[in-house]
């Protein structure tokens, strides 16, 4: 028998990465500046988290020039969407198991 926490995905379990996937799963796509503002992280920090998620296949990053300015758009993949749903469900199950399942 395995502990429920073993089902947690270390790649997306981190707070910022969880936030990135949550924002992206609600939208068609979001740009780098928006994610930085909402998640209140530095550009360097956000870049690192995005790279980890991209390497894991959870997101796709597209860079483009719009109105002569560089813009980075981020999109969640099907795998990322499924991973987020699984992660949230696992955390809720954990909380329920601990008897402190106050869902927000």
């Amino acid at each position: 028998m395995t502990h429920p926490s073993s089902a947690l995905d270390d790649t997306i379990h981190q707070r910022v990465r969880l936030g990135i996937l949550t924002v992206l799963s609600e939208s068609r796509r979001a740009d780098f500046g928006y994610l930085q503002e909402v998640l209140e992280v530095t550009a360097g920090n956000l870049s690192q988290h995005l790279a980890i998620l991209e390497d894991a296949g959870h997101i796709q990053i597209a860079k483009a020039f719009e109105d002569k300015r560089p813009r980075t758009w981020v999109t969640v993949t099907r795998k990322g969407r499924a991973a987020l749903a699984s992660e949230v469900a696992t955390m809720r199950a954990l909380l329920d198991g601990l008897g402190g399942g106050q869902r927000s």
Partner: protein
Amino acid sequence: MNADEARESLAFSEYARKRARDDMGRPWLALVLLASLSVVTLSLTGAAVSPTGLFWVFAGPLGAAAIALYAYRRNRSSGIESSPLAYVAITLGLLILAYAAGKIGFAFQAPAVARFGPAFVAAAGYLALAWIERSWTVAAISLALLAITVAIIGFDLSSQQSKALLFGLYGITLLAVGFSLRVGRKQLL
């Protein structure tokens, strides 16, 4: 991982979810546009077979285009994109169904259907919008509109009286909704 960490992570995820939904724009403009369209629908129900009905041929696509343009510009500037297709689809669906309800009512000589059909269609449209937005507020408004329409039918008012009352109630209610959502957005920002 302990309970506090899990709770904190879930709370942060929920915060991000709400923030994204809010920033994608509660479609206050779409609401006001739909409101004005539904009000105009009501004002035209008595003239659905007259040349005035041609108004819809132009007003419908123009309204949908305005919503699409608004959503597109807003998406581009805010940095988070949602699809405007659902809003455009609802607007077009409302226009077609409301117009059809008026036409059917007159064709089958059922004045009640001609007069109140569009009102029910408009309320149903708001219910669809409420589902898309996951908004209890919009859902409550939809139900309120249905209740108002049913109440007016129950009072058995004359055509002119009921039309005037519906016109006023719809206009005031929906403009108030648009205004409140607009204020809500400003507070968020």
